[in-house]
Structure formats: C-alpha cells, structure tokens
C-alpha cells in the first residue's frame, strides 16, 4: 500500500462519513454542512485523479452554487435551529432497506463489469482541448448539448426576471381591466 492509496482511502472515508452524517443528523443546517464536506471530498478525489478542471468545476457548481443555495433556503425557513423529530421506525427501516438495495444493485453491476487494467496513456486533457471539444461540430463534439443547455439556462433566467419584476403602472391597469 503506497501513499497514493492511503490518500485515496482517507478521501473515500471522508466522503462516506460526511454523507452518512448528512442523512442522520437531526439539525437541518448541519446536514447541509455535512453535504458540503461530502462534495468537497469528491472534489478532492478529482484532484487525486489529477483532473483538476473537473475538480474546480465540482467546487464552483456544487459547493459555491448549490450548497450555498440550500443554506440560503434553510436560513429563510423558520425554525432552522430546531432539532427535528426522530423519524418513525417504519420509515427508518424502509429507507435503510432502500439504501441497501441500491448499494447491492451497484455492487452487482460493478462486479459484472469487471474492471480490467487499462494500459492506455493516462487521460489528461488540457483546458483548451475541453473548450474546443465543447464547441466542436464534428462527430464527437458537444456543440448541440452545449447550446441546448445554454438556451435552457437563458430561459430560466428570463423566467426569474419576469417573476421578480415589479409590475409597472401599465401592466397593473391592464390586469385590472381583465378582471372587470
């Protein structure tokens, strides 16, 4: 067992431990923080694999974006500091079973696949290659999904603005007329 493997197991333990704590803790804010640690651990795993770009994106999107969003919504709910009630026994057993089944299913799949040692050169794309691939129109290019996702995000943004916009005089008059 060399240093690299030890680091791998340490990171894996961090991810799994934080994940278990995230679902078992009774305080909702703590749960979010444990989720955060779990996601940071995954980013660390990417760093360990030396795919830095993916690791950085993992942090930007999940930690800087999604977890912050979750924490904000926790702040805005009342009683965010209260301990929640312990879940009912039946629920607990059911969720444990669901989790176990999921794990078993995944392990089964993995064992069937059987990883054989890949002797190909380590996969280490530079950032410009990733960028080029994103916008390439050749057979393995990602231009279509990239543009579709952009459109989706644009639509979401426009939607947000429309919801958040204060109605102007004119629209209020217009709405009132409709009601009459």
């Amino acid at each position: 067992m060399n240093t690299s493997t030890i680091i791998f197991y340490a990171i894996a333990a961090l991810i799994l431990g934080a994940a278990i704590l995230a679902v078992t803790t009774l305080k909702i804010f703590r749960s979010a923080i444990w989720l955060l640690f779990s996601l940071v651990g995954i980013a660390a795993l990417y760093f360990w694999m030396q795919v830095e770009f993916i690791a950085a994106i993992q942090i930007v999107v999940y930690v800087g974006g999604i977890v912050v969003l979750i924490i904000f919504s926790i702040f805005l709910t009342q009683q965010s500091g209260k301990e929640m009630d312990k879940p009912a026994k039946g629920k607990m057993i059911f969720s444990a079973l669901a989790a176990l089944f999921g794990t078993a299913f995944t392990i089964n799949l993995i064992s069937h696949y059987g990883f054989n040692n890949i002797s190909a050169a380590p996969f280490n794309p530079s950032v410009d290659e990733i960028g080029m691939q994103m916008l390439s129109t050749t057979s393995h290019g990602f231009i279509l999904p990239f543009e579709v996702v952009s459109m989706l995000l644009l639509a979401a943004m426009v939607g947000c603005i429309v919801i958040a916009m204060k109605p102007t005089e004119a629209t209020i008059v217009h709405l009132n007329k409709k009601e009459d």
Binding site: T3, I59, I71
Partner: protein, 358 residues
C-alpha cells in the same frame, strides 16, 4: 535585496541528495506549511498595522504611536492580548459549527496561497487551471461565514451572514469576468504562463482600454468579495455590531480578523499577477537597455511592491467611500458591473482574435 529566485531548486536538489524522494517530498511539505503559516502571521501583523496607519493619515490622524517606534509593535501587542483572552461560546450556539467556522475561513485562505507566484520560480503549486482554481476555492469562504453567522445563534450574525452570502455570490460573477478577460488575452489559465505572457509589457498597458476597465471592475468586485468598506454591510458596525463575528472573541476572533487580511493579500496578489505581471519587472517592448536595468531589481520585490500597491488602493477606498445600502449594492452589481463586464469581455475577445493588443 535578497531574492527568492532559484532558492527552491537549490533546496530541492539538496533534499534529493540527502533523502529518498518520498522523504524529500514530505520534508518539502513541512517546509511549505511552516513557511505559509509564518507568512500568514507576518502578513496579519503588517497589514493590520498598515491599515491603521493608512486610515489615520487619510483622516488626518497619527494612528497607533505608543508601542515601539512609531507604534510599530502595536499589532504584536494586540495579538498577545487576543491570545490571552477567553474565547466565549454563546450558550445556545451550535458549538461544533461555531468552533469550526473560523478554521474553514482560514483554511480557504491557505488553499488559495498555493498557486500564487511570489517570485520567479517560487510558487507552491503551478496548477494548470491556476485562476479557475482560485475562483473556485475562494467561493468556499462564503460557507465559513454562513456557518459562523448561523451557529452564533444571534440575529445580527445571521443578518450579517445572509448579506455577506448574497454579496459574495453576486460579486464573484464580475470578478470572474474580469479574470476571464486576461485569460482570453493570454490563452491560458496557468499562473506561470499568464506571467510569462507579460514579458514585453504588463496586460494593463498591452490590453488597451478594456484591460483598464477589467482592472477597475476586478478591484471593485474583490473589494466587495472581501467584505470591505464601502461594501462592508456584512459586518456594518453601526447597524449589526460586527455582523457574522459578533459572538466571537479571543483566538477565534483573531482567526477571522487574520483571514480578512489574508484574503485581501491574496486578491491583491492575483490582481497584481493578472494585470501588472506578477513578479515580471517593468518591461517596455523591446527597449533592451531599460529592460535590463529593470531586471536588476529582484522579482520578489516587484511582486511585493505591486501587491502592496493594490492593497493600499483598497485601503484608500475603504477610508474614502461611505457604505452602500443593500439595494444599492445589488443594483451596482447587477445593473452596472455585470453588463459592463460582459460587454468588456466581448470587446477583449474581439481584440484578442484580431491581434490588436501589442
């Protein structure tokens, strides 16, 4: 002046000669950790003193002038006081997160130190995604602040944390765009390549007006990101006592305080690297004689000089401008900075494609 160039290779050669590679790596790690911790402590002392002196002179005062010559050891005395002080934890606080928060904030500062090039060949980790790494890791610091605000079980802290969260999340965008303009000009994310691209002139000169605009946007955005006046709503003393660190005292408070100054140093170091060429001496095109003359000044001096100039600029802002209101703060970002930086990025892309920069 003593220069840091080349020291790293000497140390590494010596270590490799004496020990096997794994041991050498471990020893290097220890050296780096010790160096960065002492850098932090030193920076904290120097920057806090500098801030107080600058503030005093801008307000026509003298500032600290009792401890040591010209008040030089004032911050040392303050640190001693903070270390001795009892660290209180509020009764209903979430003890675990309350204790964890200052360390999270501090740790982010330490991680951010990694890709900064302090001098020629003096960099901890020349990671290939340099500036992306920085902007991603710096987004973690907001978590520490939110944690501190929530765990204190205090309404001021909570409001401060919320404000700070909203502020950091929004200003990260324009800071990111400002960084991107330089990335577009350089064509690389790696810090060492960005510095090398400024061999024949810094980007702020080579990049025409758009680079200047990007620099202004960057400075504004990072001032907001580090929660400093005029964007210090998160700790607004007059309305929130101290915002997210109201309940902190003693050493934990010192860590928050230190982290604030470390963050300022880091954003200024990055600003200096991106716009002022990092450790690169002032070179003007192909004017050999002048360039050689400039090369005599060691690269670490160049780097520190530029960084401290930017830090001074940020301090100057702090003691000149009044604080913004929350709605003004968000207006400034979403209605002014963001559209301008988007437009600016487009302009820079055109310049880079047509090769109009020098």
């Amino acid at each position: 002046m003593f220069s840091l160039e080349g020291i790293t290779t000497n140390v590494q050669d010596w270590l490799l000669m004496k020990f096997n590679p794994t041991m050498a790596l471990a020893i290097e790690c220890v050296i780096v950790i010790l160096l960065s911790i002492s850098l932090f402590a030193l920076l904290g002392l120097v920057l806090v003193l500098m801030e107080r002196k600058v503030a005093a002179h801008i307000q026509i005062r003298l500032g600290p002038n009792r401890v040591g010559p010209g008040g030089m050891f004032q911050t040392v005395a303050d640190t001693l006081k903070l270390i001795m002080k009892e660290g209180l934890v509020p009764d209903k606080a979430d003890k675990f997160l309350f204790n964890l928060a200052p360390f999270v904030v501090m740790m982010v500062g330490m991680l951010l130190l990694a890709p900064i090039a302090f001098a020629k060949n003096f960099q901890i980790w020349d990671i290939s995604i340099g500036v992306l790494y920085i902007s991603s890791v710096s987004s973690l610091s907001v978590i520490g602040i939110l944690m501190a605000g929530w765990a204190s079980n205090n309404k001021y802290s909570l409001i401060g944390a919320m404000r700070s969260g909203a502020q950091i999340v929004s200003y990260e965008l324009s800071a990111g765009f400002a960084v991107l303009t330089i990335v577009v000009l350089t064509g690389s994310l790696q810090i060492s390549e960005i510095v090398n691209a400024q061999q024949n002139g810094w980007w702020i000169f080579k990049g025409h007006i758009p680079a200047v605009i990007a620099f202004v946007l960057y400075i504004i955005a990072v001032t907001a990101e580090t929660n400093r006046a005029p964007f210090d709503l998160a700790e607004a003393e007059s309305e929130l006592t101290a915002g997210f660190h109201t309940e902190y005292s003693g050493m934990r408070f010192a860590l928050f305080f230190l982290a604030e100054y470390i963050n300022i140093f880091i954003v200024c170091a990055i600003g200096a690297t991106l716009f002022f060429g990092g450790w690169m001496p002032l070179h003007i095109g192909n004017w050999e004689a002048f360039n050689h003359l400039m090369d005599y000044i060691p690269s670490s001096v160049w780097f520190m000089g530029k960084t401290f100039f930017l830090i001074f600029l940020i301090m100057w802002f702090r003691w000149t401008f009044p604080r913004l209101r929350v709605d003004q703060l968000l207006n400034l970002e979403w209605k002014y900075l963001l559209p301008i930086s988007l437009f600016n990025l487009l302009l820079v892309a055109v310049i880079a494609i047509l090769g109009w920069h020098f």
